[in-house]
Amino acid sequence: MSVNRALKLLAGVYLVVLIVAVMAYKVAFIGLMFSNVFFGVYSVCVASYILSRFLFSLFYRSKPDAGLEPPIAIVMPSFNEQDAIGDSLRSLLALEYPPEKLELIAVNDGSTDDTLIEMQRVAAQSDGRVRVIDFPENRGKRAAMAAGIRASVAEVIVFVDSDSVVEPDALRKLVQPLADPRVGAVCGHANVLNLRESWLTRMQAVRYFVAFRVVKAAESVFNAVTCCSGCFSAYRREAILPRMEWWENQRFLGVESTFGDDRSLTNCVLRDWRIVYEKRAVSHTIVPAKFRAFVTQQTRWKRSWTRESLLVARFIWRKHPVAALFTYLSIVLPLIAPVAAIHAIVWGPLAHGGTLPLVYLAGIYSLAMVYSLYYVLFQDEYSLVWVYGVLFVFFYLGIMLWQTYYAIATCRTAAWGTRPATAGAR
């Protein structure tokens, strides 16, 4: 047996033992639940929520190849991506899909760098396969996506971020679930492309892997994926069109919604259609390598999560009771998490000495190890990247947990943080 296989076997056994140990430990705390109901129930809910994601993801199966080959329009909106756009467009030209069934539309959203020149360079070498739409001024990602939809005629629209590259066989695999006429959208898988760039990108590599292979897979079991990633997702045109005008002009608390376009579009489709995840449709995306850029991105994502959670909560109960339960938990638990952290780490030592913080941090460590062991188990090659998964959970506890309240307090803001303040102000 190779060392790689032995380590994977160890990770598998370790993961199972850890999950059983966490469950047994929770049982030991049941008596305590009645003396501190709020935090007792919270603690059981968090553990059940996280472990259930892993459990349900075991039931996830990729859809078989149905031989589907519909006409597809790939829309790639782009703003100041001169370094990445060339590779991203070339990855679309290399797709294993009949060229006559493929429309490739690159939209330059008023970039101030050489993005347009790069787009035109690739378009010139593509025998007319890549069409370029140019906005003289920055109008926002949503406007760029909408322009791409209007410029195309294909029955399936695929969005690919301009900092993502797609594997040659990914497109065919992405659209296979659309063989089911009830499926309105499919979310592809995204790996981190710049994994070796910094400690932050390694952390995100583990996070992305678990977020897609566990969370989205678990949601897919109930045909209710709540966010089709902007990196690589396919939509049925007829599922988008009825709500497209609303989506383009979406407002929240009186302010135009300029970001969170992927989660918002997912919500538009999820109301009336099924949405699934396809793990074999793989893309690779560039993630922030610097702390400031990462925090800016996460704040933006949390703001859009706040806005879209209010929308999804209104209709998810009609989809599937289990999907609804877990969606509501995914909304409520992050709101309580900072209070629980203060309760355990600040109030705990004052009331109980070191016992409560120890139990809390052991829970966090167990969670971190569950994520990381899953990563080791399902990655092809063993690497030390899993250690960054452990670090990420503590990083989350120290920084990202507290972002939720800040994002809620500032959710009316329209600024991207990486785009001009005028983006989207039409």
């Binding site: 705390f29 109980h352 139990v359 052991a362 190890m369 063993y382």
Partner: protein, 60 residues
């Protein structure tokens, strides 16, 4: 990557169990300890309080 680094990288996975071993005894005692403390707190709150002087005066 040197041989030592490769060995260390692989040894880190089984070594990750160490914090659990280190804090294991305290973690195993934690549920009972917290439960005892919570019960003591409940008993303290439920215990009859000594009557105040005001109440004593009003008592016939």
């Amino acid at each position: 990557m040197s041989l030592l680094e490769r060995v260390l990288a692989k040894a880190l996975l089984p070594a990750s169990i160490l914090p659990v071993v280190l804090f294991g005894p305290a973690l195993l005692r934690a549920p009972e300890k917290l439960w005892r403390e919570a019960r003591a707190e409940v008993q303290r709150l439920q215990a009859p309080r000594p009557a105040s002087r005001d109440q004593e005066r009003r008592t016939p």
